[in-house]
């Protein structure tokens, strides 16, 4: 970043603390108040989502606020947007701030698409004339020409999001507050969102982006803060903030992985002609249980134990690996791999061993096992969550896999 010009502070947050009174009883009526006063009860508990937060944002910053769910991100965003008033400390903002806590604020299902554009526009600070001028752009971008005279309740949720987003990007302000909820919707819409982010970056707008998605922040932000339980854990350059965030998340996931699922807790599906007893990740050499794999491990080995409950002539064994967000990373079985299987008899124990090249990106993976017969037409047993393993790699990948590759920068 060029240091030639003096950096201008546009947001200054000083010692901000926010606490809420959470009512202990559901009702907020007078009766409860009287009862509580008589019994000398408070009737609420204090909840402090923000504790002594201080930071500054300079003009032109793309500023990321990251943290796990419940870390205080949303409360901080709402405090910046002026929706919440801090109990202590101050928030000073120089410039016009346009908040997008949610798209389509004020949308009314009983109004037409067109009427909603004017209503939502008014909330963003546009008058009729200004919206008249940008109306065609909004409709073009949303691709909703033939629907504008229809009521919003007849729109699909995707159409509503498209309309709301098209209005939102017309908003002109010096500072934009964007919540991660913006990046919902289908892949096409997400792409539009990210293009909008890029455009903002090109225009050197000051943007505050709140997310728990590290990769999105890493891509767009230059600076940021990491929140944990209402306090700032790390502040500064975005890569430092993100790496601290990753280490916190990994630590938590590791403790989750260490808790090995008991086979008794397996949820079995299928006819029951066979039982999946155990599925674990193991070291490929020693075949002893291994939960965490790194770059040093060439392969991830999976060992599965079964027992047959009936005579099976043509068993099929299948393995599927899911990543942390439920995407299928690997799926295969003995048919697809042209592996001939021998028939088994009742009470016979069976073992399969799978050797998968360690192409996984860092994260936690779920082992899903099933077994069938008659070419897979009959499912004998299936356990969706039969075990977990974790991959920790130093190199970062923004994809499902993290393969070993060569990179050369040629001048």
């Amino acid at each position: 970043m060029a240091k030639t010009e003096v950096e201008e502070v546009v947001i200054r947050v000083e010692d901000v603390t926010k606490s809420f009174k959470i009512p202990l009883e559901a009702s907020s009526g007078l009766k409860q108040k009287v009862i509580n006063t008589i019994k000398g009860r408070k009737g609420y508990r204090d909840f402090k989502p923000l504790n002594d937060i201080s930071f500054t944002v300079n003009k032109g910053d793309f500023f990321g606020i990251v943290g796990r769910n419940g870390s205080g991100k949303s409360t901080l965003l709402k405090t910046l947007a002026g929706i919440y008033t801090p109990n202590e400390g101050s928030v000073v903002i120089n410039g016009t701030l346009v908040p997008f806590i949610e798209l389509g604020v004020g949308f009314n299902p009983d109004l037409t698409g067109k009427e909603n554009v004017y209503l939502n526009g008014a909330l963003l600070g546009f008058d009729r004339k200004e919206i008249d001028a940008m109306y065609n752009d909004i409709v073009d971008f949303a691709e909703l020409h033939e629907f504008m005279e229809e009521r919003l309740k007849n729109y699909s949720s995707g159409m509503q999001v498209r309309l709301a987003f098209s209005i939102a990007i017309q908003a002109k302000g010096d500072i934009l507050l964007l919540d991660e909820v913006l990046a919902v919707g289908d892949a096409v819409f997400q792409k539009k969102c990210f293009e909008y982010f890029k455009q903002l970056k090109r225009e050197k707008k000051t943007v505050i982006l709140v997310s728990h998605d590290a990769s999105a922040l890493e891509e767009y932000c230059n600076k940021g803060i990491l929140l944990n339980e209402g306090s700032i854990v790390k502040a500064g350059k975005i890569d430092e903030v993100i790496s601290k965030y990753r280490s916190i998340v990994n630590k938590i996931e590791e403790t989750n992985v260490e808790k090995e699922p008991q086979t008794g807790a397996y949820v079995h599906e299928g006819t029951g002609g066979l039982t999946i007893k155990k599925a674990i990740s193991v070291d490929e050499n020693t075949l002893s249980a291994k939960k965490i794999f790194t770059e040093k491990d060439k392969n991830v080995a999976i060992k599965i134990d079964y027992i047959a409950n009936i005579d099976i002539d043509d068993p099929v064994y299948e393995l599927t690996i899911y990543d942390g967000v439920g995407q299928r990373v690997f799926a295969s079985n003995t048919i697809w791999s042209h592996q001939k299987t021998e028939g088994v008899v009742k009470n016979q124990k069976i073992k399969t061993e799978w050797l998968l090249p360690n192409i996984f990106a860092s994260g936690v993976f779920t082992i899903s096992v099933s077994a069938g017969m008659s070419g897979g037409a009959v499912i004998l047993d299936r356990v969706e969550d039969a075990g977990k393993f974790q991959v920790n790699k130093k190199s970062y990948s923004n994809a499902i896999t993290n393969i070993d590759y060569k990179l050369k920068v040629v001048k």
Binding site: F20, S28, K78, G106, N108, L111, L119, D127
Partner: protein
Amino acid sequence: MKLSKIFSKRNRVLLRELVITEFKLRYQGSALGYLWSVLKPLFLFAILYIVFEKFLRLGRDIENFPVYLLLGVVMWTFFTEATNNGLQSIIARGDLIRKINFPKYIIVVSGTISALINLGFNLLIVLVFILVSGVHISFESLLVIPLILELYLFALGLAFFLAALNVKFRDAGYLWEIFLQAAFYATPILYPLAMVMSQSLVAAQLIMLNPVAQIIQDIRYVLVTHDSVTIYHIISHWYLIAIPFAIVVLSVVVGGLYFKKNSKYFAESI
């Protein structure tokens, strides 16, 4: 808050859109739509005419008694609608308040303006009946404008107070409903004030300290008939006459300040 900020362009635009939306949604799905705004007072007049002119035979000594009645009921309806709209407004718009920061008073004002628009339609019908009844309209009738303004300000002040109170105690709505029912009979709307005066002058004087009673009797006086007994007829001390006006000013100041103090915490309390 600066006055220039209260009436800033953004706030005016927002107020306009909220009022338009409310108006559009009011009669949505009904076959007659906006027509109901005039049909309602029309039918109300028919009912009042039949009940009071043909059966109860109340107010024989007041000329144009049905129009006199209608005007009173219309003004009272405005008062209840404006305060009730205001009372519910903040809670009803909780979704907006939680997601975007804007001056909350706009919501309350838009609720009372909706009631004001309805009053306009109702007064149109009243005016038709006034003309049909052959009441002489003079310059004096223009006094109706400051009187409506006075009633609006009173309702607005109460609406601010009730809206903020309702966020804290949801019982406020029920209490206000009961209060209004009692106040309806404590205000000379259905019965002529002369009926009370014949029993007790002090009671009549007390009744007229209520701003709504003072306004309704004044409006009837300037618009329908000089048979309407006003506060100036039965109270002679100026400082007593000033009481209903002082109540109006007090409601605006106290209601406004109470609302302003609490509005900062609406987003987290709703």
